[in-house]
Symmetry: C2
Subunit: 469 residues, 2 copies
Amino acid sequence: MRELAISLDAEGSRPLYEQIYSYIKHEIQEGQLLPGERLPSSRSLSSSLEVSRSTVDLAYEQLVSEGYLDAVPYKGYYVCRIEGLYSLDSGKVQEKEKREETDSPWDYDLTPNGIDLDSFPYDVWRKLTRNVLLDDKRELFQLGDPRGEWELRETISRYLHQARGVSCRPEQVVLGAGNDYLLMLLSAVLGTGHRVAMESPTYKHAYRIFEQLGFSLTTVPVDAQGMSVEQLEASGADTAYVMPSHQYPLGVVMPIKRRLELLKWASEREDRYLIEDDYDSEFRYKGKPIPALQGSDRNGRVIYLGTFSKSIAPGIRISYLVLPEALVKECGKRLLRFSSTVSRIDQIVLNRFIQEGYFERHLNRMRRIYGRKHDILLGELRRLSGVCRIRGENAGVHLLAEFPGGMPEEKIIRRAEEQRVRVYPLSEYTIGESRERKSGAAVLLGYATLSEQELIEAADRLVRAWGPG
Amino acid sequence: MRELAISLDAEGSRPLYEQIYSYIKHEIQEGQLLPGERLPSSRSLSSSLEVSRSTVDLAYEQLVSEGYLDAVPYKGYYVCRIEGLYSLDSGKVQEKEKREETDSPWDYDLTPNGIDLDSFPYDVWRKLTRNVLLDDKRELFQLGDPRGEWELRETISRYLHQARGVSCRPEQVVLGAGNDYLLMLLSAVLGTGHRVAMESPTYKHAYRIFEQLGFSLTTVPVDAQGMSVEQLEASGADTAYVMPSHQYPLGVVMPIKRRLELLKWASEREDRYLIEDDYDSEFRYKGKPIPALQGSDRNGRVIYLGTFSKSIAPGIRISYLVLPEALVKECGKRLLRFSSTVSRIDQIVLNRFIQEGYFERHLNRMRRIYGRKHDILLGELRRLSGVCRIRGENAGVHLLAEFPGGMPEEKIIRRAEEQRVRVYPLSEYTIGESRERKSGAAVLLGYATLSEQELIEAADRLVRAWGPG
């Protein structure tokens, strides 16, 4: 048995027992204390170190529980064989943060994809997370229902009914970590034998996901009412991916007549489906919300896809599918094979966020904030009325600027660029052939991520860039 | 303008401003206050309610921010048109918890799948989560790198190097919400054209996932060294799914010779891969840890699959792939298409858990706990030495009981069942034909979820069930 020459730092921030623990652990790892070697009794070590005996006991117990020491009754503590014990050198993370401060070529980026996170209720989210963890339900660390927690699915189905006119039971709701994952899940459950028609222009990301998943794809033009049903029929597709409440990127709202035509098309064959992507329908600034297509579906042909990425934040990674009843029956078992991709803690936090009224408040607040930004940008750009037509549709988080006068897209972009403003060409959202628009070039102007003042300044630059000057 | 007859509860737990806010909101929603109607000034309302003026101001501001009221300078507050405002009736969640207390037919369930959550460091996890949220980095609520946060991928690659002998750069690590998802991702990126050979018996869940994803599948028997390379060659498969460090469910450890044969097989053609599922290699109780196959791979043929489901908890939903360099180059772009399925907050919490030494401590503690349980169950079952042979392999969280005497599986299960002990027939892990084992029936006995005392009692029952009595 050996003296342990531990020099304790009584003033330091680390508790004394932890200093003893670390010292002994280090000595064992370095081979300074050998397997089988006996340690001083806690009584003798505590007196030589001038600390309380319980401090030493605590350190010894910790070392026993981690397998460094063996406690032999009536004998004392012995060093274990540590072969195979984990000793992870956490090192210093190399400061990899070479945030190369790449001089951005833009002063204002009018991206149509971001959201405004300045108004995110961080405190509420933090409080709810802390409370969920405090409840200390250890089952939250076990695997949950592959389709998601029942309570949250119930809350979502109630929300969808009230806010979106979706009619569904919680059994039809399937949670997943983002839309990409849910499309993957759909492909695994439905098979990739379907031929999917996408709107053109469309949300290109979804197009690429379908493509990568091995679906056969086609595009169908969007007219002033939405996807052309005649051309859908002609395309040979059996599944149509549509955004009836607010088409991305055009902003078209599909009127009831076209909706009924689409539903009729889908009901004509057993294997036809409509995938309704209702990505940002929470944000409509004037008039009543446009109800979801799903609510008018009497034949169980609509697969509804919703997300909290726009209405709360993309980082929380929670989206959901609402499947038709028949599909739940048919594919339920296959669905259950894939473990849930959303942690149960996150699900419970979200459930409380909605249940306790925070979601309602947040939506109303964001609706107001985005509505003001929409109005400001639209108002500022009125000065360009001779040059382009701005369409806002009082919804979503971007405007569309159309240039009927024939200014070529490349020039529109370049002039904005010269003013260090980034705008997004509509042609980027068009797939395949028909990239030339008869109605002239157009660009997307997103307003979610900039402040009101920044929007005014960006608009000024655009007036300089495009104005008749 | 109207008097507001708000009756405040000064003793209640709800702040006064919130009571005023709720009252007015309710009146607007119910149509008792009409659009365009002017509200009392905050001065007059505060005096009539006998509260401070700032209390009323706070309530009014909240209502303005949520779009219920308009503040008109020099005039006052007016009720907005609320058409389209969200009003979610959160109702009471119907107490759906019909936990039907289904009388379990088992007193002891020796499941090989659970983990011991009694020793999970809840306090640490809670503390880390709180701290991560307190840092208030709002970018955590934005989408992150599709492959996962750089810091965590760096930490994992360092951990894998130290603990598993895996050699990789952080660039090769791809995070995902569970193994099922990662196999999905792999199928989307590699295509499902591959023919996958699974060990038999094997982890049937993975088999079903591959099946559902549309892969062509075959099985190859496991001998005392692991998957038979001769039969793998004959199977026509180009991808082999193996568990070299601790085969599930047999517990076989693949010796170096077989590993080299497998690697040689894989290197013979460009499209051949080995998927190494290293699911529970953290738990080895005697001798050195068995290094991963990946570490011996000189030709970039091994796709390594790791998880924190066993080593931390399944509920946290974090697994990872380590891709060969060439595959990263080839598929990197395709990988980037799929948004990450793990929230950034969870990633940062896990990163700190590892960085700050908690993971090391937790692994060592669990290794000790599981090791003791392993020894206890093994020791107790020695009494059955005339009847069955117990194999523990000093690893994992289950034992294998083989009955060379010819007792039929059905009888083994039934007798245990009569003692209200649940055991798991090995035949369940076998796919297709070869369900009859020459060496006799066998069952799996998991020991992770039961306490030491429960294990002793369960073993007693098994001795009664199977003993020569």
